[in-house]
Amino acid sequence: MNIMPYVIRGLATGGQFALVAIGYTMVYGILKLINFAHGDMFMVSGIMLIYMAGSTGAMPIFASIIIMVILTVILGYLIEKCAYAPLRTAPRMSSMISAIGVSYLLQNLVSYITGGLSKQYPEIPGLSTSVRFLGVKDKLSVFVSPVVAIVLMVVLVLVINHTKFGMSMRAVSKDFETSQLMGIKINRVISITFAIGAFLAAVGSLLYFSKNTGINHLAGSTPGIKAFIAAVVGGIGSIPGAVVGALIIGLVESLAKAFGLADFSDVISFALLIIILVFKPTGIFGEKVIDKV
């Protein structure tokens, strides 16, 4: 059996999950909140493209993609402003419940619009072209996914570690009040964090759905959960961790298929989560918990 196609496809799915996982991990890093709506926002960005350029839309594909990315970023920003910002000083559990609420809201809204039916995702010229690489013949999107994820991760890490804005993000993630004393507008930093997460999810949705036949209002659940597991496995709060976690999960699930265990791929992901957390409770790249006095 030739394992290579499975490896490539696993890394592709992993790269797509990674783009979603970064959103979970960044929001967690700054607000200590699991943004349960993130997977649904990913689905909404897919639906938006369908309505603009898919079976029900008539707009040119490239313009639609750009508008879809912008609208997803605005959606991410609005979710934070409406559902999380008002609860900034409330107990964290309130924000979590708000997040679950937004998740259902997005699902139901889309279900209302689509009538609960699956919609055909448009062909993305270029991404759907067949290419041959490393002896594997597949769509271009499969080969570019892990590359896109890793490149965006590197850019993001450089921005966070080497720019003034990145410094303010690191500060806000540790201490809101002291950041404010420095003159940092914490709401602005948080908004930008959500916007970045949404942008990456939009790119991820483009790569992920372009291989799919159709999507409905629940299409965000599975990638959402997988990306969340990836973020936890990698060490939630760590951006490289999210990417590594996602690549591992994508790879493991794809190899499971190679060995005829496709039906067990979810079980395998969760088992992996449990095993890693047993040995390293903070995840692969997880921060040591330093008690600061």
Partner: protein, 259 residues
Amino acid sequence: MSDIKNYEIKDFQHDSEHTQKEKLLEIKNLKVQFGGIKAVDGISIDMRPGRIVTLIGANGAGKSTTLRSIAGIIKPQEGEIIFQGENITGWSPDKIVSAGISMCPEGRKVFPNLTVLENLKIGAYLRKDKLDDDIEYVYSLFPRLKERHWQFAGTLSGGEQQMLAVGRALMSRPKLLMMDEPSLGLAPLVVKDIFEIIKTINQNGVSVLLVEQNANMALKVARWAYVLETGHITMEGRGEELLADESIKEAYLGKQKTK
């Protein structure tokens, strides 16, 4: 208690040449409540430029709440905060930093995940100009920070973290530096150093509003002092006079009385 009036008169005589305009900071009838608790209940403070003024009081008296209100972290229910003739009550923290007030918070609160140098830079977050001279100035006050500029702030000792917190607060080039219990949890020798630095900073032209439980040290460096008890100012006067006051000795200087 009749002493309060005496002290007040003396200081105003001394400063009779000053006019209303020359007040740096004026707090009028400040009230802050948390739920039902009145943390600060109608306090008034006057501060002239160039001074070290201290606010002493026991744990829970409302000292931090007062400073956090001035910094714009907490919105007071009542009262006015006037800085250089401008009413800054209710301003956002970033506007207050730009106006020239900076704060060195209780418990130091350096960013442990930022390096020493980054902590200094983030203190100048709102500034757009070059920081080299200011960083050199902070290093000249605290040479240890220069040696450790690449280290994560979380790995510094308590005293070094306090130095960094003070340096960080200076990076915005404040006119008024507020310090919340800088001596908290530090060894006596380190406390002495910190107070020396406070004097130096003040001599270099920065006014200091110093909150302390360590009344002995604070009253020695402060020109004017306020005593805060459960949200009220119960006494005010010159530092050295309060230091000699019997009731202050008893309540706040217990250990030092025998010296």
